[in-house]
Every structure is written in C-alpha cells, then in structure tokens.
Amino acid sequence: MSGILVYALHDDEGNFNKNSLGAISEAAKLASEIGGDAGVVVVGDVSDDAAAGLGAYGAAKVYRAKSAPEGLAQPIVDVMAKVIADEGYSYALFGGGLLGFEIGAGLTARLNAGVTMEVTAVKAQDGKLVAERPVLQDSAIVDVGYVSEPGIIIGRLNAFDTNETGGTAEVVDVDVELSEWSTRARMVTRGEQRGADVNIEDAEILVGGGRGLGAKEGFELAENLAEAMGGAVAATRAVVDAGWYPYAAQIGQTGKTVAPKLYLAAGISGAIQHKVGMQNSENIVAINKDQNAPIFEFCDLGIVGDLNKIMPKLTEAIQAKKGG
C-alpha cells in the first residue's frame, strides 16, 4: 500500500494544529493519486471523537498512542517508526512547525530514510511522490525524489491548506515501547505565554514594521493602524535586535512564518530573510520611501512615500470607513 502517514499535533485543550490538519488534507489528496490512504498518528490524551473527527480532513485511520507524551519529538518518532514498520506506509508527511521538523528529522535517522524540508508543494509522479523545495533564498525550486521508501516530507509553515470533506476515521490504539533515549527529555512547562504577545501566526491582518519606522516610538503608527484594521503588529529582525519590538512578533528566517489575508509592510525593505516569513500572504501592501526597495518587486500594492505622512491618514480613513 502506498499510504502516507501524518502526525497531528494538539494543544493541552485537545485542539489540533492548523498545519497538521493541512498536512492531513494534503496527504489524503496525494494518497488517492498514488493509490493509498492517509493515516494519522496522535499521542497523549485524545478523545475517541476528536481522533475519529480527523476523518473530516481526509484521514482514513488514526493511530493513537495514549502513553506517549505530546510536545516532545523523540517519543513520537518511536510511535511513527512502529506504525510505518507494522503498516507499511510509504511516506511520512509533516505540516510546518518546530515539532514537525524535529520528528521528521528523527524519523529520518531512525529509518535511514531520505528527507526533504521546507517543502512548499508535493506532486504525484508515476505512483511516487516528488517534493518541491525552494532553495537559495527562493531563487530556484528543486524537485526531490526518493530513492527508497519511506520518504519523509516536512512542509514549510502554511504550505498545505485544510480541506474539510466530512467523514470519520477508524481509530486504532497502538501500544509503543519508547526508546531509552526518548524518555530522557521531559516537559516541565508547555506553552507558557510571556508578555502581551499576540499570536501573529493566526492573525488575518498584520501590519509589519521595519527600520523605516525610524525609532521604537514609530511602532505606535503600526499599532494604531493595526488596531483600526482589527489586526496585529509584526516586526523584522532588525528592529527586534534593536529592541524596538518583542521577539515574539519577529517574522522571517529566524522568526515566525505567516500567511495572513493582508500583510501591510511599513518601512520594510523586503530582504530575503524577512521575505521567506511573509511571502505567502494573500495580499501584500508596502509603504516605503525607497523606490528601489526589494519589497516593491513582490508586493501587490506599493506606495513610494513617507510613512509618517501616510500611516496616520490611512488609520483615520479606515476608522472613518468602519465607523460609517
């Protein structure tokens, strides 16, 4: 069977991660093209209904390892390696995110498998999967194939869209003995919130601020506009390094990857390190006084001008529009 196995991450309340659900839908679509099913691994305390409910995203079978802890990679590597060995899955697919990278990497070593990461698309060719991975700062895309099974595919954040088709999955409990080294890391606290950081990854509208805001105080312009639009504020690495804005809001190669409906870049040049974190936004609007800024090459609407003049008036205009 040319099945595809996915790992679905959940929080302490039992809510599944958006990137995981996207990976399930992607796996279901690809599996049907290569003649197999999508299986899903969940660990920890997941109810029967929640597990079976993953069928709505395309899962045929859900393997639940109740005794394995959620949130750390290596126990999940143990579970996935056993399910792949017992059930003969041909591929493992991960949605973007820290844990997917770690589990995918660990599974690669465990199974002596091939891995491709930062994958933005997967296609079926002659009954096999080929992963597309952008390289060299997205200036080229390589098609990567697998010499042997299983093949491991780790998606870039937001690479795979969810697709709710309805249905329920068969739930199977699996008993897995953890490797000795998998038990030597223990979660002390999980998901601690620090400061008033908003979850920029879930925001539909983001106002990103860069060096062009001029100073820490300049972020007030971004905050006011974001508030008027009902969005959140994000930042480039340069301004986070400069202490103008908290790290939790950092977008780009060393920060978060976002794909909101609207990304409004204020005073951001659009260097590749930032671009990789926001280029999948549905609409990109840029305000920058430098007409040669790289961001004007990939934005949808670009305004060459002084943001100190434009942003307050734009904020007012949007408030007026919403109010009226």
Partner: protein
C-alpha cells in the same frame, strides 16, 4: 564535561549563490565563512564553561567538509574551542541529510561528548534538521531551536518557543542541542585568539578512521535525489503608487483594500 560544537563552512552571505547544473549541488566556490548560527553554539559552550556550575574540561569544534573547511575550524577555535576535528573524505561528497547526520554521529562517537551543541540552521541548506538526525543516530535525547540553557546535576534545563508558547524542557546528558540565535550575543575573537587559532590541535579524520560505512554516505548512500531544478513561478508585478498628494494616495489604498474586502 566535554562539549563538542558542530560547525559548518558556508558560502559567505554576500556571495551570489547558484546551483551547478551538472552535479545538481550547490556551487560552493567563492568566499566562505563559518555558519553564523554555529557561532551561537560556541558562545553557549563558552558561557557554560564560564558559568562555573559545570566543569567543562574541553570544547571541541567538529566539522565535516572539504579542505577549505579548516578555516571554519580556525574561526571556531578563535571563538573559544580548545581544539578541532575535521572529517574530510571524497567518499562523503554529495551526502544528503541522513548520510551527513550518520557520518557526523560516527565522528562524534569517537569523542564521547557529554553535550553536542550546534546552530539551529545553516545559511545554505539543512535547516533545523541536522541536530535531530545526529541525535537519533547517537541514541541521545535532543532539542532544537533552544534559546536558554541552564546546566545542573548532569542535566540541562532548556527553553524554546514552540507552537503554543514557551516550553521548558529538562534533558539528561549526554544530549544534542541546537540553539537559536536569540540565545546569546557571540563575542568577537581577540586578535591574540585569531593569531593563535592555527596553533591549536587540529585532527583530520577520514571515513575509515571513525568507522563510517562508505556505502552509507556520499551520493550512493543518499536516499534523496534531485530530479530537476526550476525557476520559481513568476509573480506579477504589483501596482505602484508614488505619493504626491497624501489624501489622494490614502483614498486609493482604501479603495484597493475595500475592493478585496480587507476592511
């Protein structure tokens, strides 16, 4: 306690990078540098040594790569490592992530480290993954993208930002930890350290010296294959407005947003 720092030589950030059409590998000619992310791993090792809680006997810089990679080791030593280890062998050329992780794990096994530190990503490729690959080959616990490490009683307390906020994780030694660049501010090497770096012991190893099965590495031992290299899809150029009359500009922006139902 012995700490091994994995380092990598990468093309300098300023170099225009390209893929060699024949080998389908990254063309690594041109100016090179120590992967900036790895300098944070060395700094983390130095701070553990200087922190006084753990007794660090030795910090060893470890790399795999061609002859030129020696320069990355010199930089690592200038930043504080006591000596270095260089795995170099034509048999390793074209190794994919798993083959590279396997080879590095074999090399590290010959040193029996208590802690392996590395940067969470390299400027030129195997983002976020190599630490976890090496760890599983070594059968050691691991954590990646760590932004704070405390050492006490033979274990580490690590913090990192995960999907739902900050996680604090306790990890027993020996372990493999990849660090994010928010963990520290790497120091600048002193002129004396730079001058002295070439005099510190540097040991060269070939695959046979550390028990690497040549069939498991290089292009032949790799499980992935680059099938094609394509240009990225063309993105249509957006609309550009030069701001002359700000009221008019704002009106245009609002209309544009409104048309797309973004307000």
């Amino acid at each position: 306690m012995k700490i091994c720092c994995l380092v990598k030589e990468v093309p300098d950030a300023a170099v225009q990078k390209r893929i060699d059409e024949n080998t389908k590998r990254l063309d690594r000619s041109g100016e090179k540098n120590l992967n900036p992310f790895d300098t944070h791993g060395i700094e983390a090792a130095m701070q553990i040594r200087e922190g006084g809680v753990a007794d660090v006997d030795e910090i060893v810089a470890v790399t795999m790569g061609p002859d030129s990679a020696v320069r990355a080791l010199h930089k690592a030593v200038a930043l504080g490592a006591d000596r270095s280890l260089h795995l170099s062998d034509t048999a390793l050329e074209g190794s994919d992530v798993n083959a590279t992780g396997y080879a590095l794990a074999k090399l590290l096994s010959s040193e029996q480290p208590d802690l392996v530190l590395l940067g969470q990503q390299s400027d030129d490729g195997e983002c976020y993954t190599i630490g976890a690959v090496v760890a599983d080959h070594l059968k050691m616990p691991s954590l990646t993208q760590v932004i704070k490490i405390d050492v006490a009683d033979g274990k580490l307390t690590c913090e990192r930002q995960a999907e739902y906020g900050y996680d604090t994780v306790e990890v027993d030694l020996p372990a493999v930890i990849s660090v994010g660049d928010a963990i520290n501010e790497p120091r600048y090497p002193s002129l004396k350290a730079i001058m002295g770096a070439k005099k510190k012991p540097l040991e060269a190893k070939a695959t046979g010296d550390v028990g690497i099965d040549a069939g498991e590495v290089g292009e032949g031992g790799s499980k992935t294959q680059v099938l094609a290299i394509n240009p990225p899809p063309e993105k249509q150029a957006g609309e550009i407005i030069e701001d002359e009359d700000t009221n008019e500009t704002v009106e245009k922006i609002v209309a544009w947003l409104d048309e797309r139902k973004l307000i």
